[in-house]
Structures are given as structure tokens and as C-alpha cells.
Amino acid sequence: MTQKDLAASDIHAYLEQHQQKDVLRFLTAGSVDDGKSTLIGRLLHDCSQVYDDQLDTLAKDSERHGTTGKGNMDFALLTDGLLAEREQGITIDVAYRYFTTEKRKFILADSPGHEQYTRNMATGASTCDLAIILIDARHGVTMQTRRHSLIVSLLGVKHVLVAVNKMDLVAWSQEVFETIRRDTIDFATKLDFVDLHIMPVSALEGDNIVHRSEHMPWYTGASLLHHLESVHVASDRNFIDMRFPVQYVVRPDLDFRGFAGTLASGVVRKGDDVVVLPSGARSRVASIVTYSGEVAAAWPPMAVTLTLEDEVDVSRGDFIVHPRNIPEHSHDLDAMLVWMAETPLQRDRQYWLRTTTRSVPVMVSDVSYRIDLATMRQSQVETLHLNDIARVAIASTKPIYYDNYQRNRGTGCFVLIDRISNETVAAGMISGRKAIRPHAHKATGDTQKSLVTLEDRVRQLGQQPLTLWLTGLAKSGKSSIAYALEKRLVDAGRVAKVIDGSALRSGLSFDLGFSAEDRSENVRRAAEVARLLNETGVICIAAFVSPFEADREEARETIGAERFLEVFCDAPIQVCEARDSEDAYGRARRGELTYFPGITVPYEAPTAPALRLATHEIEIDAAVDRLVDLLESRGMTRG
């Protein structure tokens, strides 16, 4: 039964259904040439969201400004609302459209594909749960597809639906679709998408938009609308880290003092112990007040008013959080910045940084690199211009409380505002890590202050601290060999410790995902841990896939070339895959794991390892023997 039928036959059932409905905010990326406007027009039209008088206006406008030929409705004109846009046949700004089905309400942020797309896409994506990226089946994955995907990924949109459009123009070919699907997975592996769906559609003909296509029986997945209706987004929000930025103090009389705000993340309950930041004052939640009465708990994005048991000083801009889970704070931030103003960044100028309910004066102290969207490469620049995307360091006059943007959108985002013109000039995503300062602390850096020398430690433990860095594909035997070696060494009276991927990710690197950047950061942290262990005199056995040559080189530099022994666990991929009881390889091959060295991204084998172990040919014991020999040859026992 359609919505209208239900409304007509049983309005009370209809009202009941609509009061319970949730909402999906999504954006569409792609240019007019990819058929974006046709897709939107099709969705709105097929969901009966276009009224007759709007169609009349559209017909009139199509006649005057249309670009689709005589007699055809130009659906782009449904969304291009401004006079200048219609006169020039371009889209200037993000347009918001609304439609509803029996399952959900949809808020669609439609951002233009060409003109100033970076700024507009970033704006649209900032509030979206899902992005539709359109690909013209005739052209496949283009540079523009990559750019749009990068921006969507940067803004932390978790769900991505790639619609391969105009399938009617490639004779509904499965082969064409499969090629594009593989290409898409190929580049998407480098981005942080949690959920990626790829589907063949024809917006013009309506295939796989609302209804399943009859032309493509080989495609067995859901239609685009069905996917939009069923994708689960409620658990995307962070319900772990309670962050309540105080927005407004409600104080109608001497008896009531409440702190109004919108939960940025986490869950707050009546009776919770809380701490106020930055003052550090402790108290307990006395009540959670709303107009309709008190509630026992609140979660994002609820807007509530908290009262506390104690008379503590709280004002706008403060954070109320749980004492055991407080956000990061620092004067220095590492962030990705999208420059949005016509006037370029001025490095010697202060800007307002606005995050949650707080504003502080800051300067952009360093531009680490700009991402060149034409080549997708990093480049060194002095300043930033409109639509530039760059990694920067921000220096603040006051400490800023924040979380990593990818973990917590609400407390990891900010905008920069010009202090004279009051223009919003940039949007930023905090990476949650302080700026990495290359060459600041290398192997011998901070030990100089210590009154204990490395020689003292070597004498004490009777061993030379070395790092064995085991690299190789997943399931190539790294960890098994590492732990066997650790046992052998400790049994022989040595002090040794294994660090591996799973151990690091459960603690130190819990905040990292599996994108290329996060993988590199994980390797960087592993190298720092190895260095600390070595400086304590401990032999470190590091077992990491570490697929990139550059990352391993950096690890060598951090740990010190004289201590760093690269060991290549070299087994053919078929052997590794056969050993894989968890079916990780299978999932990677099916496109379910977007980043998987050897399958979706290359594994860069070491060119000159200290030792190569053909782990499919030798037993673990034999491998351990050879590693002990290697350590001996490098003076391990010369204590």
C-alpha cells in the first residue's frame, strides 16, 4: 500500500507510522553530466514529492532556462533555486530537499559538482550520514570520482553508495559494471569508508532507483531507495564518550540553575558523577530537565538541561563530562583544513576557532602539506586558497578540549572565523594527535638528560638491545615466530618483548582505523615503542604487516639503523590465504574489507632485508634458530 493509500484509508495509522519514523541525511556528489539532477528529480518524482504547481513552474522554467531540450523537464531546475543559477545554468550552492517514504524521512543535501565543489561538498557532507557518489557508466571511475570520495571520507561520512549510472547507455552490461566495481573498490581501500555499496542504475529510465531493474537480472542487490530506507545509521553516533558542551545557563529564579546544551556524544544519566572542564570541579547530575518532564537519561543529539547537586561555577563554553573519560586538551592541534574563503590564509593573523560552544583566538602555525586534488598528491605550500584541503598545525592561546574527529564528529570539528570581516573562512577536522614534529626526538634525543646511560643498562642486563622487525603478509607466520623466539630468548636469560598489531590496536592505537594514513601512524607508534624498549635495554620483536617501504624506513630511522633488523616473512599469498581460518582474505576479495595488503593494496616486499624467512618451507623452530643466529651475529650477547 502506498503512503497516499494509507493516508486515504486510515489516517490514524498513517499518523502513528510517521510519528515514529527516523531520518536519514544524505548528500549526492557528482556533476550534472553524471545524471545527478535526473537522479534527484527521479527520486522526488517517484516518491510523489513534486506538487502540480511546482511541475507547472518547472515546465515554464524548463522552457526558459532548461538544458535538456524542448519539451523535456529539466529536473536540475527543481533544485537550482537562485536566479543567477538558472540564468547561467550552473549550481552555486548546496540545496536542501526533503522527501518521505513509509520507512523514513530524507534530508538531501544536493551540492554542485563543478563550481566550488570542495567548499559546498564539505558543507553538505558535514551533517550527512550517507553519500551517494555518481559514476557515469560510460566513463567509469574518474579523477572527479576520487576527489568527491576523498572529501566525503575526510568529512567522516561512514556510508557510501556508489551509483553507476546510465547503464542504459552501455546496454545494461554486467561486464562494464564489474570493471567499474573493481576500480571503485581499488581506490576506496585507501579511504575510511565503513560501509561501501556499489550498484548499477539508470536514473533516466528508473532502473534500480525505486524498483529493481528488469534489464539487469544479474544484479541481485537492493534498489537505491530500498538501500536508503534500510541502511542502519543510528549506531554511527558515539554513545561512549559523554560530552555535554554547555550552551546556555537557564536561571529563571534563585531556586533553579540549569545548564542547557545538546549532547555531542555519549549518554548522561541522572546520578552520574561528572566533572566540569576546564575548572575541574566535581559534582553529580541531580536531574535532566525537559519541557515535558524530567528524564532518566539523555543521548545525542538530544537538547536537554542538566542540574547539578553542588553549587559549582559553570558557564557557556564549559564541558560537562564523566571523570574517567575526559576529552583531549592541548594548545596545539593537528587538523585537516578546508579553506572556504576568497581571501587566502594569512599565517600571521589570528582567527576565531569555534568548536562546540567555545571560541578561542588561534593562528595556523604550520601547513604540513596540501592535497592537490588534480593529482591527489601532497605538495608543500606557503598559504591556502579557496577550496584547498591541507593538513595544518593550529596554535591556540588557550587550551582546547577535543576528540579525534573520526571518533567523535561533535567534538572534533571546528570552523575558523575571520576576526575582522566575521566571514567563516575554513572548516577543520581535528586528527586528535598533536602535530608530529619530524626529527625532534630521535634515537639518542631525550636520553641525554638521563643520568643513566645506555651502557649502564647494557651492563645491567648483559645484552645488546636490538629490534627484530618482522614484516610480511597477514598469516605469513610473523606472530607465531615472534612469540616462539621470545620464549627461547627469555628461557636463555635474555630480556625480550614482543609487540604486534593486535596488541597495539587494543590499547595504544585503539583510535586508529585501517586507512593508509592510520596504518602508517600505527607503524610509527610501534617504532616509538620499540625505541623505548631498546632504550630500556630490552630486545624488541616487532611483528607488523607494515606493507609500505616508506613506513619501515621511518621505523628504521626512529629506532636507529644499527639496532634495526628487518626480517621478511616471505610466504606465497596462496599459502597465507589457505592458513586463514578467519576468512579475512575471502572478505577482502569480496570487497568487504576495503584495505587489505596483498589483495586490495600492494604489499611492498623488502628489497634488502637482514634476513628472509621462507615461512612456508621451514618449521617455526628452524626459523627461531636462524633469528637467534642473526641476533648473535649482531652482538646480542656482547653485554
Binding site: 489516517i11 499518523l15 538558472r86 530537499r97 545538546t262
Partner: protein, 305 residues
Amino acid sequence: MTDKLDYTLSNLEQLEAESIHILREVAATFSNPVMLYSIGKDSSVMLRLAQKAFHPGPLPFPLMHVDTTWKFREMITFRDRVCAENGFRLIVEKNEQAIRDGINPFDHGSNTYTRIMKTETLKQALTKHGFDAAFGGARRDEEKSRAKERIFSFRDKHHQWDPKRQRPELWNLYNTRVNPGESIRVFPLSNWTELDVWLYIHLENIEVVPLYRAAMRPVVERAGGLIMVDDERLRLEPGEEPQERLVRFRTLGCYPLTAAVLSPATTLPEIIQEMILTRRSERSGRLIDHDEAGSMEVKKREGYF
């Protein structure tokens, strides 16, 4: 462990939370805000959201009604009663000079009339009171140029909107900074649709002007629309004879410019049912939008809400 998957909010709950956030943001950051109260259904929802935002405190800003003197009489009665009952501070602004000049929608055309009685009066009042932020109940689904307007919409010293110089608006971080003389129009209902508004009125039991409900009312047929003869000022054309018809209004404005629809819907469920089944958008009853393509945008550039 927590019952994480139960932490969901419905569409209406999310819209409500977003609107409350916006209302509080203005109260916290502007020195002299005002809420434009147009007495219609959207204003009624906006007012309820404001009550929620500052509960248990009173509204931290006054309401202002720009009275063109051609509003339906029932609207004025409703306005005065609602404000008196809830203790809202109400400012009523009229263009006294234009009233003396006899500006009316018949002789001066809807464009000129609207510009003088509504837009100019509004701009003068904002300047006179020194308001630096003004809430309006407009929604993005109403009209195409609204679909591209920010929630916090910057206006220059002349109260004008420049669609090409809008401030980027990301996440829920609103730029609330203005220089003296400049102002911001704020639209807390930006993401609400007409259906959302009615559902919320139904769910929250919000009182609306009775004109939204069907009743026998005296109307004449003009240019395809039904115009209510609300008082003796409506000049009847030769041959026009007011007839009692069962009608109601989807939107409310100046009575000579607001067309009624034939309808038997008297309850909220019936009104909502009719809205879903209709094939005309709500603004089709507003005569001023149809003067020319892009007419709303032109009015907004001049300072209209």
C-alpha cells in the same frame, strides 16, 4: 553493557532537538534578539520550541508582529490571547505613514503593497529596536530560494540578503558574529517540512488559529482563488457576490492575498490527510509568490523574511 541500539530518536525528536539548539545559540550569543511572530502554524510551532528551549525559564526575547492591518481578524484575536495567556512580551509594528497614505493591496498591487507594508515596516522596526538577530518560521521546503538559505542568514546594514555571499554553515557550528548595524535572520524550522509541522502540532497538541479548520465562510472567487470577505474593506468587483462556502486555509497572511481551499476538514487528522492527498503546494495559495519566477528571492534580497 548499555542498551545502545535503543538510543534512537525519531525524525520529529531530532528536528525538535536541532531547533532547540538553534534557539539557545541565539539567546546565548546575541545581545538583542527578537522572534518574528506571524501567528501562523509555523510560528505556533516555533513558539512552542522556544518554550521548550528555555524551560523552566521565560522566553529571553520578545515577540514582534509586523501588522499590515490587512490580516484576518481571527489572527489578531488569537495573537493577543496567546500572548496574554503565556505572558509573552509582544511588540506590534505598523507602517503608520503607509496607513495614512492609504496603501492597500488593491490599488498598489501585491508587490508594492507587500514591500511597503511588510518588508519596509520590518526593516524600520528592526533598526528602531536595534535587534541584532531575528527568528523567522520559514522552512526550506517552502520555496526554491529558501532551500539554499542558511539557518543563520547574514543581513547587511540595509537588511539585505546576498545569496552569493552566504557564510558556509557546517555541522551545528553557527557563525553568530556580526558588526554593529548588521544582523542575522535565524530559521529554527529550516529542516522541517509542512508535514512535520502538522504532525508536531498534532502530537504536541499545539493550538492554531481556527482559520486552518474548515467552516462556512463568506468568499468570492477571484483569479481562480477563493478570497474571504473578512471585513467591509474588500472591494467587490461588479457581479461579485459573497457566498458562504465550506473552506479553510493552508497558510495565513493578508486576507485579500490569501486564497482559501474548499474543504470539509475540521480535525487535525483530516487536515493532514487532505494535505497528503492534495496535488498543490501550500504556497500556491499565496498570491505574492507568483508575480514572477524568482519573486521570493527578489523579495528576500530586499529584506523580506
